[in-house]
């Protein structure tokens, strides 16, 4: 089947099999390998992308479900060569170690901001609760997101 959707701002027409997962469409067909696969059952959040403003686990979404949708992946976060404030704060506060959870983590945080530009610390923790990180202990990530809210 053919679907038409926007990926990181770009209109895309693609022919796919009905049982293809969104993560495979992104990684295999569109070569957007920033989105990671960690568990394939929607528990780790490494594959988080944004569909119509909501953070979703792309391993649990069928590719055909994004027909007519607006999809954002980690590759779409920076404006050209300029990192977004959120990305810059991930650097500044040491929110990255191995970096495997980072794309999903960024997308969950970004989706939170789309919905609520001034989230509380608790709302931030809830937003990234579904993103597992084994390296950072989450504190620097929470700090990076909090600082993005306050514009520090």
């Amino acid at each position: 089947m053919i679907i038409n959707f926007k990926i990181n701002g770009k209109e895309t027409l693609i022919n796919l099999t009905k049982n293809k997962r969104l993560i495979d469409l992104l990684r295999d067909d569109l070569k957007l390998t920033g989105t990671k696969e960690g568990c394939s059952i929607g528990e780790c959040g490494a594959c988080t992308v944004i569909v119509n403003g909501k953070a979703v686990n792309s391993c649990l979404v069928l590719a055909q479900q994004v027909d007519e949708c607006d999809v954002i992946t980690v590759e779409g976060l920076a404006e050209g060569n300029k990192l977004s404030e959120l990305q810059q704060n991930f650097l500044k506060y040491g929110a990255i170690q191995c970096g495997f959870c980072t794309p999903g983590m960024l997308m969950s945080a970004y989706a939170l901001f789309l919905e609520n530009p001034t989230p509380s610390r608790e709302e931030i923790e809830t937003a990234i609760e579904g993103n597992l990180c084994r390296c950072t202990g989450y504190k620097p990530i929470i700090q990076a997101i909090t600082s993005t809210v306050s514009g520090e």
Binding site: L32, K36, E37, I41, G94, C98, G99, R134, C135
Partner: protein, 801 residues
């Protein structure tokens, strides 16, 4: 902050952060090779069996052109292992644990291969399964590896003084037994490897999520029966490891290499989470028996320790892991008489090996729990009791090693933690509140159903269910490999004629931030910005074998090598400038902010880039190799005496918790982690180690457990295996008490593992402080706290049967 440094000790942003934050970083599964095929494993759903026949006929009937790779394709070593070669690349004689792989099917579609894998018919004879390590050494226990005399993998004795005499002279004896559980590394990136056969005689290139490229190379070369030079291992960006991407990755590399050479095409293997948890090794479960002889004045004079480690189906790193345990089992206490036995045994359980902490979190949980119990018995606070026995400069360890030549600042670290948390008054206050009438945790048991029904008298005001507690734990940790093996590392630094530089060390970036740490060291010596340093790709063809990236040794050993290389170049530049500027031989220089000037004459200066250009034009070699070898250490296998490690680090963690004694839930309010890592090189990286290590340690203490049912793992994914989330730890506070040391780069030593090893013990002691009850078995989850036992699905009998 130490003002003599320009960059060292400050917070420096990771060099690899830009690619990681934009999704451009290439992890192993992000790399593909044209024409690559996939490898899918064939396993047998059994725990212990002899393999009678592997029958591919049905597979070949369904798909005649199936590509099968199994042990018959291996020309070199069919079994591998660091000490004992007991682990097959492909099983051919026995199945000893459910993760075992018989064969690999190769093709274009993984989905098709997975269904085809069911067509391989394996005839096997089931053997009795051995899943209880306490039965492993019984004479009639099933033998896991019949080529060895018994199921004993290793036994380390340690004998110091006269322990029986010590017990006789003690005012009292305290004895307790503790157990720890099987846990999974849970790196978020599952294992992936890509093997690419190279043209002509060039051999094979392997790119993967590999923690120890040199070990992987050794294993692959031995399996292929090839020289080391023909196997090139390139490390992809590694998505977490924590000790976990060693053996498993070496074996996957070997399987991919054998297949790639058999068919002449690139082969990729990438594991699902379920396969990762099924086949990869885990942390050793321990059973720890401690007997402590103590005087009324609080002085410990004798300690007898008996530790049994479940090595699972293969020996793997058990001989190394348990060696660290025997060295450190008493904890950081000066005790005259010590008798320790540590044994690791085979079972049919998932095999166990290296995991961050490496044989220290288990004894620390036991020993620090006991220290608190004895302190309470003596009516001392936990810190008072530890001050009486804790290591000071000149103290002797259990192996008879005198602690000297470095800051033995255990008690400074302890005092800092006590002050930072206002420990003593909190501890006393919470302790005084723990006599709680009407709630008898211990008496609840489902053997008497009547007791499970709450009566009116059992009603507790919900506000009274939340109890606060504070607890601490302390440790010392030997840095790097110690007497485990050869300990040396290399670094290559090549400055370009524009003042930028290439750097590469023989250790690996596993996500910990090593590349940045090493770059800071080189930049500090040369007085340039770390941005000027370009860290090269880890490739076994480009740098000498520097041993594995384990044992929190990358800053100490790799950093030492980088500093050595940087010093060589700096000396060369200084010699050149003395000639060029016609200076006296004793004249000194300042390398700072991209300029080099004469000390005492700041007018005479040159930019670092101009200096490089000038030196290059004068034919000066701008590249250097630095080598860092550890000082001599020694160990007597029979007595367990010797200088086990050349230097040590010290730590203290304080846990503050709230326990809901109605639900058994433990809330972590704050962990204060005070560590002496020697010299902090990158503050941002050091704090990151603390946050991450503490969080893993909390998971170990409270939630995480891989359980097996007849040897088969129940928790194969993150829906059942629960690691801490962003909501599970309220606050973590890293505090560094730096200590002077002559080793490594300016005394920068170890931090990665100390941060994890202390947490579960501190939490256990905080729970004790809150509830007045001691818990002996990790994890201290809801069931443990309320029922003093673990509950598994198999325990629940439902229905009429």
């Amino acid at each position: 902050m130490d003002n003599s440094f320009n960059i060292v000790g400050k917070a420096v942003i990771r060099q690899d952060a830009l690619e990681k934050v934009t999704g451009r970083a290439k992890f192993a599964d992000d790399i593909n090779e044209p024409g690559q095929l996939y490898g899918v494993m064939v396993r047998v759903p059994t725990v212990h069996a002899t393999i009678d026949e592997i029958d591919y006929s049905e597979l070949l009937r369904v798909k005649p052109d199936s590509i099968i790779v199994d042990s018959t394709d291996i020309k070199g070593s069919k079994k591998i292992g660091a000490i004992r070669q007991d682990q097959p690349i492909f099983s051919f004689d026995k199945i000893v644990t459910p993760g075992d792989v018989i064969a690999m099917l190769v093709g274009e579609s993984e989905d098709e291969l997975k269904s085809l894998s069911k067509k391989v018919k394996i005839k096997f004879t089931e053997l009795p399964a051995l899943t209880d390590p306490t039965r492993s050494l019984e004479p009639n226990a099933p033998k896991i590896h019949p080529q060895y005399e018994s199921n004993l993998i290793v036994h380390y004795p340690l004998r110091k003084g006269d322990v029986e005499k010590g017990f006789k002279e003690s005012d009292f004896i305290h004895e307790e037994t503790y157990t720890t559980q099987l846990v999974e590394h849970a790196y978020i990136e599952p294992e992936t490897v890509l093997a690419i056969p190279l043209e002509g005689n060039k051999g094979i290139k392997i790119i993967g999520s590999i923690q120890n490229p040199f070990t992987a190379r050794k294993v692959v070369a031995s399996v292929l029966n090839w020289p080391l030079t023909k196997v090139r291992i390139v490390q992809a960006e590694l998505g977490g490891s924590f000790g976990g991407k060693d053996d498993t990755m070496n074996i996957l590399s070997a399987r991919a290499a054998v297949a790639a050479l058999k068919i002449g095409k690139p082969i990729k293997i990438h594991y699902s989470r379920e396969e990762s948890i099924l086949e990869s090794y885990k942390r050793h479960p321990y059973i720890l028996k401690y007997k402590v002889g103590c005087m009324k004045n609080g002085k410990i004079i004798a300690m007898k320790i008996d530790i049994l480690a479940d090595g699972g189906a293969y020996s793997s790193m058990s001989p190394f892991v348990t060696w660290r345990s025997v060295v450190q089992a008493t904890g950081p206490y000066d005790i005259e008489n010590v008798w320790t036995d540590v044994r690791a045994v085979y079972t049919n359980n998932p095999y166990t090996g290296a995991m961050r902490g490496f044989g220290s979190p288990q004894p620390i949980f036991a020993q620090e729990s006991i220290m608190d119990e004895i302190a309470i018995k003596l009516n001392l606070t936990p810190d008072e009791f530890r001050r009486i026995n804790g290591f000071k400069a000149g103290s002797f360890t259990a192996s008879g090693q005198k602690l000297e030549n470095h800051d033995v600042n255990l008690l400074d670290v302890l005092d800092t933690a006590i002050k930072e948390t206002n420990f003593t008054s909190k501890w006393k206050e919470y302790k005084s509140k723990t006599s709680f009438n009407g709630y008898q945790l211990d008496k609840i048991s489902d053997t008497n159903a009547e007791q499970l029904i709450l009566k009116k008298k059992d009603y507790i005001n919900p506000n009274k269910l939340l109890w606060k507690g504070i607890g601490l734990s302390i440790s010392y940790r030997g840095c790097s490999l110690g007497a485990e093996g050869i300990d040396a590392a290399e670094a290559y630094l090549s400055v370009q004629n524009d003042g930028s530089a290439y750097l590469l060390s023989g250790l690996a970036e596993n996500g910990q931030g090593m590349r940045t740490t090493h770059s800071i060291i080189a930049a500090e010596v040369l007085g340039i910005s770390p941005d000027k340093i370009y860290y090269l790709e880890t490739d076994t063809g480009l740098i000498p074998d520097s041993g594995p990236t384990v044992a929190s040794r990358s800053t100490l050993m790799g950093g030492g090598a980088v500093k050595a290389a940087s010093d060589i170049l700096r000396n060369r530049f200084e010699d050149f400038l003395r000639l060029e500027w016609k200076l006296k031989s004793q004249s000194e220089f300042i390398f700072k902010d991209g300029f080099v000037s004469v000390n005492g004459n700041p007018q005479q200066k040159i930019s670092f880039s101009d200096l490089c250009s000038l030196a290059y034009k004068n034919g000066i070699c701008l590249a250097a190799i630095g080598w860092y070898k550890s000082p001599e250490v020694n160990w007597d296998e029979h007595t367990g005496q010797g200088s086990a490690y050349f230097t040590y680090v010290y730590g203290c963690q304080v846990a503050e918790v709230t326990v809901n004694i109605g639900t058994g839930q433990v809330y972590i309010d704050k962990i204060t982690a005070v560590h002496n890592p020697g010299k902090v090189i990158n503050l941002l990286g050091a704090e990151g180690q603390v946050y991450g290590g503490v969080t893993q340690g909390a998971g170990y203490g409270l939630w995480e457990q891989v359980t097996t049912d007849g040897g088969k793992i129940r928790e194969l994914n993150f829906d059942q295996y629960l690691i801490p989330t962003a909501k599970d730890l309220k606050e973590i506070k890293p505090v560094f008490v730096e200590g002077k040391d002559v080793y490594g780069a300016w005394g920068g030593k170890s931090l990665g593992e100390p941060t994890l090893e202390l947490t579960s013990a501190a939490i256990a002691n905080a729970i004790r402080n809150a509830t007045g009850k001691r818990f002996y078995n990790l994890p201290i989850n809801l069931e443990e706290l309320l029922l003093r036992r673990k509950l598994f699905p198999k325990d629940l009998k439902r229905g009429s049967s």
